[in-house]
């Protein structure tokens, strides 16, 4: 379980470029839930994910992961509980290392690293089995440099790496946005398959409202650094993009009303 309470974060405080990215953002994701997050540019989606991962520190608020307060912990100390796939397919892997070395890095995520050989024989079967589930033939290319793979292949491997060891939450940051439509569909299918099989708790940020409704079991919309709506279960079923837009309009309308109240 992961819960964020009243997160606030302003970039460039006290400068002309002051930008409040999170304004009281709260969200609780329960064990086994797959939440999709949507919102326009600047809504705070990426900042929220970075705050959960520890890449940015919030000004105020509280982040609890598996009953532990991680608000002040840096990224590497949260990594045992928080797994992550980046938007940039090149960001989640090291191109100068081999496929097996990348997987060996991921299998020790959040654990102590010693002086024994990193790539161990006993990992091999697991590596091969996971890779063969991608159906890309990578199980026979364990010794190849990561840089030889295409962006889509690398993103698929990133996803495998994130699910190689258990985590409290899997963060997916628009991880299909930089891929061509066919590859994006493949990676998305792989995502839902892995999340279902391993019963992972996941938070997926996406630009596409359609994607947000098609996968997962709960959808949250962010706007100006806050949650504007949060739908799940029956309410969410059968919902279409235009309904979402309607919901959003309604919320924005309310906001304008609030503003006018304030102006009075």
């Amino acid at each position: 379980m992961i819960s964020a309470t009243d997160l606030r974060l302003t970039f460039g405080k006290g400068t002309p470029l002051e930008n409040p990215a999170l304004r009281g953002m709260s969200l609780t994701v329960n064990q086994g839930e797959f939440v999709t997050v949507i919102g326009s540019n600047g809504a705070g989606k990426s900042t929220f994910l970075n705050a959960l991962a520890g890449e940015v520190m919030v000004d105020s608020g509280k982040i609890i992961v598996d009953n532990q307060d991680v608000t002040k912990l840096p990224t590497h100390k949260r990594a045992g509980r928080v797994a992550r796939v980046f938007q940039d397919p090149l960001a989640g892997t090291c191109e100068g290392l081999t496929i097996e070395e990348n997987l060996a890095l991921a299998i020790k995520r959040g654990q102590r690293r010693g002086l024994t050989a990193a790539v161990k024989k006993e990992y091999m079967e697991r590596f091969r089995n996971s890779l063969s589930s991608l159906k890309l033939g990578l199980e026979n290319r364990l010794g190849d440099k990561m840089g030889l793979l295409s962006g889509g292949q690398r993103q698929a491997v990133s996803l495998l790496m994130a699910s190689l060891t258990p985590s409290a939450i899997l963060l997916l940051d628009e991880h299909t946005a930089a891929l061509d439509p066919k590859t994006a569909a493949f990676v998305l299918e792989l995502t839902t398959q892995i999340i279902e099989e391993q019963k992972l708790t996941a938070l997926m940020v996406t630009h596409s409202m359609k994607q947000a409704l098609e996968v997962g079991d709960r959808t949250v919309m962010l706007h100006q650094g806050e949650v504007v709506f949060d739908i799940e279960g029956e309410k969410r079923e059968g919902l279409e993009v235009k309904d979402l837009l309607g919901l959003f309009e309604k919320q924005r309308g309310l906001e304008i009303d609030d503003d006018s109240l304030l102006l009075d």
Partner: protein, 300 residues
């Protein structure tokens, strides 16, 4: 052309600079951390080893202390960068400058002679080898042991974490790697090797001098880049072999250049030759690829 003594001398110095090149491989290649501390940690290793030997210590323990001193110097540079957010290059220049004073303090004077002292080389002269061959034999062993240890380390869990830190720090953090700690460990290890090189250099040359570090970074880089031009560093072990090969080739090239009388070069031209060789090492691989590309195009 080259006398036997000049040839062995070139290989001997080449092996020592091979250790420097290992250090520079860790900082420049593995961690992507341009580190000039080596110009200070090389004479630091020499000074520490020389003073301890003069104080009657066992030369191997004195050499070990030189390694630790080099590691401490590297750790200072890395901490300036990691904890105080000083640009890596600048942090290393600060440590390098400071080490000049530290080295003078350690020695108490600009240079110290070791000619009559017992060094790590002394017992080896009784083995019946020619005088000029002894350092080469010992240093080959030291370089081989360092190469194997370094190779094993780079293949270990911690070593892999260090390589990931240099290649993709954001990914490394997301895998739970304390990237700051890895930079400190790596730069310390790098300068420990350079301290070892300085200690061996002082013992084989019979003196430690506060100015002996000038240009070590350039020679180390020349060895690294030259070696990579000869042996493609596609794996860790190849990269390490390239370091040693590059250092020996570099010293041999210098020796030939200085011995070729028709060139009319003298020992004061050393730095100029170095600069020319480094430039060639950087430019030539590119020329080779473009020539190869032209040739294949003609065939097609």
């Amino acid at each position: 052309m080259l006398s036997d003594i000049a040839l062995y001398g070139a290989i001997e110095t080449g092996l020592i600079y091979g250790l420097v090149a290992f250090g520079i491989y860790i900082s420049f290649r593995v961690l992507d951390f341009p580190d000039l501390t080596v110009d200070g940690s090389f004479p630091l290793g020499a000074a520490v080893a020389a003073m301890l030997i003069l104080a009657g210590w066992n030369p191997w323990i004195a050499t070990g202390a030189a390694i630790l001193a080099g590691m401490a110097a590297g750790a200072v540079t890395a901490l300036l960068n990691v904890k105080l957010n000083i640009l890596n290059l600048l942090a290393s220049i600060l440590t390098m400058i400071a080490l000049y004073s530290v080295n003078l303090r350690i020695m108490g004077r600009p240079n110290v002679a070791l000619l009559t002292e017992e060094t790590v080389l002394t017992p080896w002269y009784d083995l019946g080898l020619a005088y000029h061959q002894v350092p080469v034999v010992l240093f080959v062993i030291v370089v081989l042991v360092s190469l194997i240890l370094l190779w094993r380390f780079m293949k270990s869990e911690t070593g892999l974490a260090m390589r990931a830190t240099g290649a993709n720090a954001r990914m490394a953090r997301a895998q739970g790697i304390a990237t700051g700690g890895m930079i400190v460990l790596g730069v310390a290890l790098s300068n420990g090797l350079v301290g070892l090189a300085g200690a061996l250099f002082a013992q084989s040359q019979g003196a430690a001098d506060v100015t002996m570090g000038v240009g070590v970074i350039v020679i180390g880089l020349a060895s690294l880049i030259g070696g990579e031009a000869v042996i493609t560093p596609s794996t860790v072990v190849r990269a390490l072999i390239a370091c040693v090969a590059g250092a020996i080739i570099y010293r041999l090239a210098i020796a030939f250049a200085l011995n070729a009388e028709f060139l009319g070069l003298q020992s004061q031209d050393l730095n100029l030759i170095t600069a020319v060789l480094v430039t060639l090492a950087i430019v030539l691989p590119g020329v080779r690829t473009s020539v190869a590309a032209k040739l294949t195009r003609k065939k097609a």
